[in-house]
Every structure is written in structure tokens, then in C-alpha cells.
Symmetry: D2
Subunit: 344 residues, 4 copies
């Protein structure tokens, strides 16, 4: 059954498996001190146009988030996130488990802006309340929307004025960077964020997120913290070589661009069929609203999540495409939709 | 340069890479609910001869240890470990970071026995002290020694009498299970431990440890805890397929047996040359004592760790072999030793 | 300047100071194992009509809350609270600092009811989210409202059906128990809550909260946890004797009743002057809405907090009375209000 | 029965109770912002000869220790303590519960010196191990010994060279400061420690420890942390007035001096009777070695702890005197010893 449930159903891009296989027998240094991780770091320096950042390869997003936030904050400091933020709801309290409150802000499109954060800072005004210190955003967001360069710049300026750390969950950063006009580049991310990660798991790697720490104050002794949270893989080269391969040429961007293209092709098709959308998302996650009866039928042939109830008899669903989604699968879905919508 | 530094320098056994590559394109369920993880679970049931255990695949040993211990203990409860235990010294306080004290017991051979634990229980007698509740052992230990079935059985009986949880760090469980007469089997492990893990990283996998929870009371809602600690990989099938492959036939045991064989062959060779040993270890870690001048020369051609100073002018070194160690490498090392020792 | 800012401005009831002074020279057992704490425990057994509970004396409310919640929950479990709950906003993330998320529910009157909790349980449906396990309520609430016996009973039944722990922050339990018809008694509290505390700090003690644990499963080894959180006072008898004195006769109820009476007398007076109220609270906290100009003038002579903006030119203020509030102070405030309101 | 078990059996010095009683009715600012706490702070400034420190009043020693250590350290940093240190053994893992390892150093007299700490720093050399960052000492120590000014100075110089924080548990700081020649003064403590506390509980207060933070970097936003750990008492003035009274004239030093005098008088008496001592302690804790049979008889009339077994048939006991110990009690104990030793 074809799945549009998520972008981590398939494995890695074949080039990655090939690279692992070819380097498999070599006796490599452990714990991320290998040749591949170093080569990826060098490559990033060129792409970002700076020497002045650290990179740490972590196996997954939740682990990266809890590691980063618990390392950057003092015990009484809290993070601010959209209520749809991954750390707010879908990480089983991972951040709180390290001792820190997540202060949430309601956001329909999953994004935060300075004017939304200001009241939170005003409200938390004395020592009987936590001190908000870190702003967590996801780019793309959990509903597929994108922070443009302009929005990143505005948030960054605001955070620096307020003494706030800006941290970006980039589980789908590839999708954000290839989402079209105004999309941020790696250089932009490094300019505006204090730290961010480049998601591998959801963009063609077997696993792995590349955490980039730009703010000098946050770098110190970070490897201790990686080890303490159980995030320092012995065979770290396996993560390193995946990112080396993704960024050797343009693979990372090509894969993300393909996923976006498939989702937008799907969205266009659904719009042609008259579907409204819950939110306007230019990346690889789309949220069309369909009649419940149509959804029921579609679920017999395709896998995807029902996102939330819409007006009577309708629901929004989430459709996600990946680096591996084939155009024939999308065409099949669209053609089935057409039939079902005509009947309904 | 040939390395005897550790057993995680090389990648995965080729069969594993082949299996990943062949299954790479399939759209698999996420988070460890895939076909391969299930197949491995079924396989383990047969090997262990019981249906009554849970299995969770985790990416590394430190992560497994901190996850297990923080999940099993109440806040005031502590774990007991040998002072050479991995959690005692080489996990950057990962256990304490989850809130629990590690009470250490000096042990020359890295092993614990009931009579060593008893005084710790007597000493911690009231509410101004932590309550020791979990006994952590490693099999093989950090110095290559092995808990035999008999020793496992004695520890287990003692722990059950005392209301203690027995947890086994099996990063090198393969080496223990193939260490010869008296070695425990998987069935023994499941009979005597409340929980243990089967190490993949150090025995032919790219990464991965298979945590087996036998004690029914410790199983409940464990997936919440795996997720909270950032240990639930989205593409969990990549870990699942590695263990499936390792246990499809006898690969796991063959690889561990080979590593042991190489180390013992190396040990025999060194004994023939008159080397004494720091500890008598029947597995893939050996600790010969060599003249410092010889060590210095050897390090020009081979990688390995100096473990500790011995009598004047001598030091113990640690030599580790892996599933991938070739006999020719061992022969080369032995022949170089022979030359250098004759000169010295 | 007369203060209606809170109910902890003055010290202890004179009988308490007298009792401390009279017993001061005696060499008492440390850490809560003294004669006075035991006598209070015996007294409580009679009042509650049961032998089957533990009592622990803690120095303050935040400490009690963090101790209780961190002791009762496993790492992935969360507590549910009203958004106005003390743990939600005014304890500097004390609960999160012990590792647990506080899931908040909007509540205008500061209370929770089963139908408000149900959707939270439905929403948290799988292991990628925390598991709500404990319901935290305050009686009286942070806005002076009271859970009646009937409401306590309904919440309790719901929690038991759902496997939830019901824990009551009783910083102002005295005010709740003396709030008139339908008010719960100590017996009711012990029948419906799994644990609750009897507030001393805000009802005539120098400091101290008496934590009562009724649910047998939650009692075990609790003194270890009290010690670990730094809550076991060496001279625990000083807390013990205060509670002994408060409950020797009816002092605790008399003091709370007086505070309520003063607040209600103040409320009646303000109602006569035509003041509306933010919320209808039958206890020692009231929230009248006054013109901002009047508030400004009043603040020159009295201390109290502005609670929140109301309609244009008006604000709600919080007025709190205590066991020590004198009627003449209330009369003075009312008379000043009358003058100012007439002018405005 | 007369007790030499500890120095917190009796209550507060009568002057303290009088001061509380006299100020009891006043409506005081809450949470340590009261007149008495401020007056004590001013007093301390004069005694220390500096304006440049913060003071926070906490209810007990364990709470102070866990608050300080968890606030000063990053997650991967550890503290170093003597194995007899209070945090090492008698605080139920309170430090570990906040996430930090306590690295212990064996010490017969309970003291640490630079040469004892150096190897610990050498041993913890990379990111797979915790980073020792704070040195915890107690003055007096848990066995009654005293760090002299000279020793404080040496430790302080060493810690500053090594980038270590020096923190002093002063539960019995009064006893240290009045222990005779070479004893440190408050000025010395503030000069050599980064932070220390002045114990009230064990020197004439009902409860309370005055934490002094000297190192500027460690002061910031500390009140948030005090609140978060549940250590900010609503009626903070009750602690404030106790310290105000203790330091108004010389009461604090007089009380500690008396306790020391009684213990030394007791020690002299026992030496005259031929008793050896476990350790030579010039403060209010002494550890004479007595025949087990004599101990058994003494315990019928006096309370004290047996500390540890000595040579066959003998044990060391711990005898503690307090600000309230009467000379007649000591004489009684000595006279009973004389009788029993003569018989034995």
C-alpha cells in the first residue's frame, strides 16, 4: 500500500549505501573523530562561508532537541515554542525530563514572530516564574510552512535584542531551503540562528541530524554533553559519511526539492479538484480538506493521517512526500481522488 | 596503521549491508514497529524459549544504560556497579544526569559477587542515604573477564533474595557467550537477569543494542521512556534488520567467536614470548604487560591503548580484536613483538 | 501601611510561639521523629477517623508540590493542572525541574472538573506524548474559589476510574474547610484525595505544610524522598509543635474562619458600594473591580495587588485577609473606598 | 536522658525567640525581602568588609547544598568531595538527584588538600568522563576537624589556578571560627571561598543557613533558583530575624565557642582517664575510643552514636555538644565514665 504518512518510510539514497559499503572495512577513528565527519565539516565551512561554528552529528531529532536545550539553559530558564512545536507535544516531555519548561504560544500556521513572543517576556517578570531564554522554531514547521529569510532575520534581530537564544529544529530544513522564493540558505541559517540542525533522517539518510552551533558561548565542552546524553555513536563515521555524501554535490537539495515538488504537484492536482486546504504550505507536507467518505475510501488504498476535523462531514488530512516518492504514486492518488470526489 | 584499540573501528558485516540495501526502498512502519524488528523478536523468542519478554532496539550502550536505569528506579534509589563499570567512569555521568547515584565497589577483575555487595546493603541502612536497588554488571566486563553461568546464577539468586534488580550491560555479550566452557547462553541471560542488552555495535552491526526486559514489572510503558530519552529512531527498521541478520543463522556467535579466537591466539603468542598479563581474560580484550620501550616502538606501527603502569619500566596495554580482525594482522603484531622483545 | 497583599505577612498565632518557647530547651529527637509531630499525627488519626495514612511536615508549599509530584510519577508521566494553578505559573518551573510536564487546562474560576480533564486524556493517546497521571488541584484555588465535597467526590470518582492520582494543594485548605455550606472536612479530603496537604504558612504558623498521603501505594519510603529534596528539617519538632498547637483544639479552623469572615465582610461592603467582582469567591481572597483612579489613591494607603485589567478604566484587584486581619483595618479600607468612589 | 547525639536537639537561643515574638504581629514583606533579612545583610557587609556578595537564607543544609551545586554547575560538571563529606553519603543522593556526580576522595581526617585533588583532575581527562568543577568542603568537617586560614588559603589558590569553584558547607562554621589559633574568620571565608554558608540550625537558631555568594559570576538570578528548589520561604523574615539576632552582637560566636568549650572540656576529661581518640578535633565533635562494655553501660544513661569499630573490644563513639550543653551534663558523663573505666 502506498504511504503518504511520513518522509521516513523509505531508507537512504542509494549513493549513501554505496559509500557506506565502500568504506565499511576501513578501521576508522571512533566517536565522530573520523575522516568523513571531518570532510563534512570542511564542506559545511565552505557552504556557510565561515570557520566559526561547531558541528555534531546526532542520531535523531528528539535527541538533538533535548541535548541542545538542556545544554544551553540554566535550571530556571525555559524555552518558548509554538503549541504545534515538536518539543511541545510529540517528544513525550523530553525537554521537561531534562528540567526545563516549554512555554507554548498558540499559532495557527506553526510559526512564531516577535510580536507573539513579546507578551510572553512581559508576563514572565519575576523570580516566581521561569525565565524564558531560548526560542525554539522548526523550519519547515510541523504544518509544512516555511520561515523565509526575512522572517528568520526579524526573529533573529528580536532575539538578540532580548538576550534570547534562537534555535532551529531543522528536521525538514532541506524542504525549507528548497521551498522557492525567499527560502533561507545554509548561510542564512548560520547568520540568524544561534544553533540549528540539518535533518538527515527525513531527507535521504538512514538516520542522523547535523547540529550546527554558531554562537561561540554555546559551543564550549559540548562533546561532554553529547556523550552524557548517550548521543555519541561509537561508529560515528556511519553518520559522518551519510552527511558527507548528501553534501558532496547537491544531493541534499535535490532530494528535498524532489519531495517538495511531489507535494506541490499533489496540492495542485487537489486544488484543481476543488479541495480547500487547512494551511498554505509550500513544502513536502500538505493538508487538504476532504469529505470523510472520500477519506474512508482512500484509506483502503493509501496510508496517511487524518489531521483534524473540519466543517461537518469533512476533515483535513496530512499528506507527506519524500525524497523517494514516485510521480506515479501521486498520479494514482489524484486519479482515485477524482473518481471518489465525482461520486460524492 | 593496524588498530587493536577497540572493536568498533570497522563497519558492519557485509551480510548486514546487503540486507539493508535490499530492503532500502520498501515503505516501512516507523519507530520500531517494522517487519524486521518483529522478525528479530520472534527469533529471540525461539532462542530464549519464552514469549515473556520485551525487546527494544537502541542505538548505543550509554543511551541504553541511562534509559534503563532511569526507568527502573525511583528517585531515591541507586545502582551498584564495579568501579571499573562503564557507567561508573566512562559515560560522563550519564546515570547521575538522570538523577541516580552510582555506588561503586572496587573490583580487580571487573566482576561483582554477592559477598562484595552485601556490605553495601548493610551500610546504606536508613533514609539519609540512597537505597541501592539495581546491580549493574557488564558481561564481558570492561577488562574482558566473563561471568559464567554459575556466577550469573549466584548473583541472580542473591539479587532476588534482596529485592535488587539485576541488569547486564551486554555491549560485548557475544564475546561472553562464546568464551568457552561455562559461558552463559541467551537462555541463561533471560533466566538470571531482570534485563540485559545484546550488543550489536561491538559485534558486527553499524550500531545498535537490543535491550531485553524479562522482569514483567519493568516492562510497562517502556516505549514512552525510549521516546522521551530520544532513543526511538524514526527508521527503526535499520536497527531491526541488522539484528534480524545477526540472528538469522549463527552470525552473531560466529563473529564474536572469531574476535575471541583472534584475541586468544594473540594472548597465546605473547605468553610464548614470556609476557605476563594484568588479568586473565578469555574474551576479545587482553591486557599483556610489556616493557615501555617495546610499547613505544609498537605504537609506531599499531594502534592500541596503554592501560596502566605496571612495575618499573613496564606497562599493561589493552589489545582488542573484533569480528573483522585478520589473522595476518595478529601475526604481524606478534612477529614485531618477538623482534622487539629479543632486542630489549 | 495596612496590607491586603497576602495571608503570610504576619507571623504565627501567639499560642504557637508560646508552645515553642515552653518546649525550646528540651532535647528532642531530630528529623520529624519528635513527640510533637507524633502527637499531631495521633490527633489527625482521630479527626480523619483512620489510622491508614502517613503525614510528613514540610517547610513550604512549592517544596511540598515538587516533592510529591516527583515522588509519585514515573519519568514519562505528567500532571494536569488548571492554568491558574500554582505549579503552572508561580513556582519557577519547580515541577519541570524534577522532570515532569505540567499539562494545563484553561479555567476561569481556577477549578477543574471531570469533563475538562477528559479531552486531555483523549489527546494524549500514545507514546510520543507524555502520559497524564496526576491531577493537581488547589483548595481553595488561586482565585479563592472552593471545591465543595460534591465536587471533590466527583473528581475523585473520575480519577479512580481513569487511574489518575488526585493530589490537593491545601496551602489554603483551612479557608476551604471553613467556607460554609458544602465545604469539605478533613475526613472528606482523606476520603477523596490520594494525597493532600494542610497549609500552615497561610493560616497562623511561622511556616509549614502537613502532607497527608492516603493512597497506600504512594507512601513507601517517602522519607527518603523528603530527605533527598532537602525537606527534612533537623529540628523538625518546630514544625511539629506548630501543627500540634493548631489542631489541639479548633485553632486551625478558627483562624481560617476569621480570615474568611473578614474577606466576606469586605466583599459585602464593596458590593454595597456597587462594586462588581471578577469571580465569586467565598474564602479569604476576593477580586473586586474598581476604577483605576480609585485604585491609585487606595494604593497610597493600603498594600494590595492589581490582578488584571477589566473594562476600560477599571481593574480587578486582589484583596487577601489573614488570621490576623483586624476588623478596623477592613472598616478603614471600606470607608476610604466609599469616599473615593463617591468622588469618582 | 542527656543526649550527646547532635547539636540540633535543643531549640533556639532565648534571645531569638524573644525577637520573633516581639516582631510577630508586624506585616512584613514576604520571600526574604523583609527588614530583618536586609539588616542582617548590612551587618554582614560590615563584618566581611565588602559590599560585593549576595546572601540568601535557606532552611536547611541539604537544601542549601543541592541548590548551590545544581545552580553553579553545567550538566556535565561534577563536584569533588571527601568520602566523609555530607553530600557524599548523608543526603540521600540529593546532589545526584539534580544531575551531578560527586567524585569522592578518601580522607581520614575529613579534609581535602590540593595534592589530594590533583590526581582527580588528571584522571578526568576527556569527554567520556565528567568534568570536576566544584570542590565541596565542610568547615568544620564531619569529623570535627577544622580548615585553618592557611589551609583555606592554599585550597583557594589551587582552585583558582585550576578553574575550580570552592564551596564551603558551613553547617558548623561557628565551631570552626571559634576553634582557636589559626581559625578562619568570616572575612577569611569570603576571601577564600566562592560561596559558603553560615549554619544556623546547629548553632542556636530554630532552623536556617545563610548562604553567602562571593564570586560575581555565580550570583546572577540566584533567587529564581532558590524559588525553583522550594527554598524561598513566604515568611522569610522568620529566618532573617534569627540571623539578625545571632549577629547583632557576638551571640553566634559565643554560642559556638561554648559548644567547643564543652566538647574540649569533655575531651580533656576523657584523655585524663586515658582514652585515645579516633581523630584530633578541636571543635564540638569528639571521637573517643572506649571499651564496648563501657559504651553499653553509658548508653543506658546517655544518648550518642557509636561511630565505628576500633581494635578488638573497643569502638569510637561520637560525642557532640551544642550551644545549650550544660557543664553539669558533661561532668555527669565524665564521672560515669570514670566509674565504668575503673571497673572495666
Amino acid at each position: 500500500m502506498i504511504s503518504f504518512k511520513n518522509d521516513y518510510s523509505e531508507g537512504a539514497h542509494p549513493d549513501i549505501l554505496k559509500a557506506i559499503t565502500e568504506n565499511n572495512a576501513f578501521q576508522e577513528e571512533g566517536y565522530g573523530l573520523d575522516r568523513h565527519t571531518k570532510a563534512f565539516h570542511e564542506n559545511l565551512k565552505k557552504r556557510i562561508g565561515s570557520e566559526d561554528f561547531d558541528v555534531h552529528l546526532i542520531s535523531g531529532g528528539t535527541q538533538t532537541n533535548l541535548l541542545v536545550i538542556s545544554s544551553f539553559l540554566r535550571p530556571h530558564e525555559a524555552c518558548i515554542a509554538a503549541d504545534s512545536g515538536h518539543i511541545s507535544t510529540h517528544e513525550t516531555g523530553a525537554i521537561e525530563a531534562t528540567g526545563h519548561k516549554v512555554v507554548t504560544i498558540p499559532s495557527r500556521d506553526g510559526k512564531l514572530a516577535p510580536e507573539m513572543i513579546k507578551p510572553v517576556l512581559v508576563y514572565h517578570h519575576f523570580e516566581h516564574m521561569v525565565k524564558p531564554k531560548l526560542v525554539y522554531i522548526s523550519n519547515t514547521t510541523e504544518v509544512g510552512t516555511v520561515y523565509s529569510v526575512k522572517e528568520m532575520e526579524a526573529l533573529s534581530r528580536f532575539c538578540r535584542e532580548q538576550g534570547l537564544i534562537l534555535y532551529v529544529d531543522g528536521a525538514r530544513l532541506g524542504a525549507a531551503m528548497t521551498s522557492g522564493e525567499g527560502a533561507p540558505t545554509l548561510k542564512d541559517m548560520a547568520r540568524y540562528a544561534d544553533a540549528f540542525f540539518i535533518g538527515g533522517t527525513k531527507n535521504g539518510a538512514l538516520f542522523g541530524e547535523a547540529l550546527v552551533i554558531v554562537n561561540h558561548d554555546l559551543k564550549e565542552e559540548f562533546r561532554f554533553l553529547v556523550k552524557q546524553r548517550g548521543a555519541l555513536l561509537a561508529k560515528g563515521w556511519v553518520t559522518g559519511i551519510q552527511f558527507r555524501e548528501l553534501f558532496k554535490d547537491n544531493l541534499y537539495f535535490d532530494l528535498a526539492g524532489h519531495a517538495n515538488e511531489m507535494a506541490q504537484y499533489l496540492a495542485e492536482g487537489l486544488k484543481t479538484l476543488g479541495c480547500p486546504f487547512l494551511v498554505d504550505s509550500p513544502s513536502n507536507q500538505i493538508f487538504p480538506i476532504l469529505p470523510d467518505k472520500v477519506i474512508e475510501k482512500l484509506l483502503e488504498e493509501f496510508q496517511f493521517y487524518i489531521w483534524e476535523k473540519a466543517e461537518k462531514g469533512f476533515s483535513a488530512v496530512r499528506l507527506i512526500t519524500s525524497w523517494a516518492t514516485e510521480k506515479t504514486s501521486v498520479d494514482l492518488f489524484l486519479s482515485r481522488c477524482r473518481e471518489l470526489l465525482q461520486k460524492s
